[in-house]
């Protein structure tokens, strides 16, 4: 079995797709780091110009933000759901100010979390799809599936070795992504930020932000936590991609189907509050991080546990169905 896994990993590495992915990540991370640094500096400049003060005081900035939000609440045009999320942010800001926690100075650790926060519903799944899509369908389109399957090895073992190799590579990609995010953003911000305290444990009770269970963790622990969730999402996407790759023999179709699901899912987010069944679709549950950061629109029944379980079920079903189909498929290429 080890030999089979080694073979599959070799094939994945030598296909040079990994380098394409790393290249894409470097480009995105650099752009986003630069963007964040630029905005931050612009904000400081703007504040200094407006207030005439010589230096930057985060507390004032935070208080400024708080005032903005409270003013927005007074506006008559906000829908009910919008009120809830603004209210949450207000409560969070109040907490940060009262407890002397600076919410907005960029640091490498914070960036690495922000990056996956932004990317977890689209960019990161897309990267995993690129990695995984031709794992099976590629072998069909080049015909190499024939030499692969006419060995003295049962089909399920071959698929299992591909799955394990895929999981290993997915883990590697998430790791590399984290390292790149931290290292590249450090070049821009000059701050590691691992020691900063992060408040987490905000809970939603009846649509109200509840800060009773909030604890402070170091940003390092927080980053690890966030990346674990990212890894979980990546694994589920990998399993789903493998299934689609098995069903459609064609890599391009596989990528198309998955992209349609991911992008379509973004639109479905709008229906979450009115159409309950949408919450069982895997795409609406991809953003696990929002439960931890506390900044999202609360939907009844959706919690971190719910999303994790839903994604887990989708992943397991995908694998079960995939193995069955692969075992019985006639190879006609």
């Amino acid at each position: 079995m080890l030999n089979l896994i080694r073979n599959e990993v070799t094939k994945l590495l030598l296909k040079k797709k990994l380098f394409l992915i790393i290249g894409l990540l470097i480009i995105f991370i650099t752009l986003l780091s630069y963007g964040q640094q630029y905005t931050y500096e612009k904000n400081i400049d703007r504040f200094e110009n407006l207030s005439g003060a010589g230096s930057y005081d985060w507390k004032s900035l935070a208080t400024q933000r708080l005032d903005d939000l409270e003013k927005r609440l007074d506006s008559p045009y906000i829908p009910d759901d919008g009120i809830a999320s603004i209210d949450i942010e207000i409560k969070q800001l109040r907490y940060f100010i009262d407890n002397d926690i600076n919410p907005i100075t960029p640091s490498a650790a914070k960036f690495s979390v922000d990056f996956v926060e932004q990317g977890i519903s689209l960019l990161i799944p897309l990267i995993i799809v690129i990695l995984a899509a031709d794992l099976v369908s590629g072998e069909f389109s080049t015909g190499t599936i024939k030499v692969l399957l006419t060995r003295a090895v049962p089909r399920w073992k071959i698929l299992l070795s591909k799955l394990i190799a895929l999981l290993l590579m997915t883990t590697l990609v998430v790791l590399i992504m984290g390292l790149l995010a931290i290292l590249i953003s450090y070049l821009f911000f000059g701050q590691w930020g691992f020691d900063e305290p992060v408040a987490t444990g905000f809970r939603l009770i009846d649509g109200q932000l509840n800060a009773d269970a909030v604890i402070l963790v170091s940003r390092f622990e927080y980053t690890l936590l966030i990346y674990s969730l990212t890894w979980y999402v990546a694994i589920v996407i990998a399993a789903l991609t493998l299934l689609i790759s098995i069903i459609v023999d064609n890599t391009v179709t596989a990528i198309g189907v998955l992209m349609a699901a991911l992008i379509g899912g973004q639109f479905l987010q709008f229906f979450l509050s009115d159409w309950p069944i949408v919450k069982f679709f895997f795409v609406t549950n991809l953003d696990l991080i929002r439960y931890l950061t506390g900044s999202y629109q609360p939907i009844p029944g959706m919690s971190l546990n719910f999303s994790i379980i839903t994604l887990g079920i989708w992943g397991l079903l995908a694998l079960l169905i995939g193995f069955q189909i692969f075992n019985r498929k006639d190879v006609l290429v």
Binding site: N3, K146, T150, A152
Partner: protein
């Protein structure tokens, strides 16, 4: 009786309620070279895919060296190497890496076995180049090598000379023939090239529309027991054959005299013809070519 290297019994396959392979049975014994012949769409490739586990039969059994392919898959596959409408190789790897990768999947493929296979197909010089730059002939050779690295007892070749030029076809044929002679490996080869099958195979199975229509030794199938005379007066010859030997002979458009006779009396007939004053130009046995036999058996105008 020794276990046949390949035993196929009542093999059938239906796709969407249409039976495309109908009850095919045949066997291959040790050291034999069996040819699979049939027009396009006859079901040769479908049948061969069922022999190596790429396709599922709807009914019937396949055993390789006594191991059934459905119950004892791993054991069965360990005895067979195949090229199915290949060559199918990883283009982004070198020829050597391809063989290494595939060898690692079997239990006991040693580096020596890989090197021997490479030497056998004559690819030592270019083995470390990427497959994407190989010519078709080189790819087919590597394809053959991958079928041989685990030293199988049965070699199944589905149209292995696809896309090769005449030189390539000749070389491939020579490799397979010497392989069969030196190692005693049994070969099942399917091909469009009737001449190839005629030159390489001991036995031939002719498939048409999913059914086995002829199964026998090549030499048996070809000798029709007819003799052809080219004489200066075929009509007189015809009369002599009729009156003296009670034989019905026919005269072809090329003025040849043909009759089915017992070879023992051929010298007497020849003597009689000469005694009657006829000039005997040539006397030959009328062997059908496999092509004529094939075309007559598989006479069809439309695809079914």
């Amino acid at each position: 009786m020794e276990t046949p290297v390949l035993k196929v019994a009542n093999l059938s396959k239906s796709i969407k309620n249409k039976e495309i392979i109908k009850n095919i049975s045949f066997q291959l014994n040790k050291g034999e070279v069996l040819g699979f012949l049939g027009p396009n769409g006859a079901g040769k490739s479908t049948t061969l895919r069922m022999l190596v586990g790429l396709s599922r039969p709807s009914a019937g059994t396949v055993s390789i060296c006594g191991h059934a392919i459905d119950d004892d898959y791993v054991q069965a596959m360990a005895h067979v190497g195949c090229i199915i409408e290949g060559p199918d190789l990883y283009e982004y790897l070198s020829g050597y890496k391809n063989l290494e990768l595939l060898g690692a999947m079997s239990q006991h493929v040693t580096k020596t076995a890989i090197d021997d296979a490479i030497a056998l197909v004559g690819m030592e010089k270019r083995i470390h180049d990427k497959v994407s730059i190989y010519s078709m002939g080189m790819k087919q050779r590597i394809g053959l090598a991958q079928a041989l690295i685990h030293q199988p007892d049965l070699l199944i070749l589905d149209e292995p000379t696809n896309g090769l030029d005449p030189q390539g076809i000749h070389e491939f044929r020579e490799i397979v023939k010497s392989l069969a002679k030196d190692t005693g490996i049994s070969v099942l080869i399917s091909s469009h090239l009737i001449s190839e099958v005629q030159l390489m195979c001991d036995r031939v199975c002719i498939i048409n529309q999913g059914m086995l229509v002829r199964d026998g030794a090549v030499t048996e199938m070809l000798s029709t027991g007819e003799i052809v005379w080219v004489v200066n007066n075929p009509c007189q010859g015809q009369r002599i054959l009729n009156e003296q030997f009670q034989l019905d002979a026919r005269i072809t458009t090329q003025n040849e005299l043909i009759a089915a006779i017992d070879l023992e009396i051929l010298p007497k007939i020849n003597a009689a013809l000469i005694a009657a004053g006829l000039e005997l130009q040539t006397v030959a046995a009328n062997n059908t070519t496999l092509e004529e036999l094939f075309l007559s058996l598989t006479n069809q105008k439309t695809i079914h």
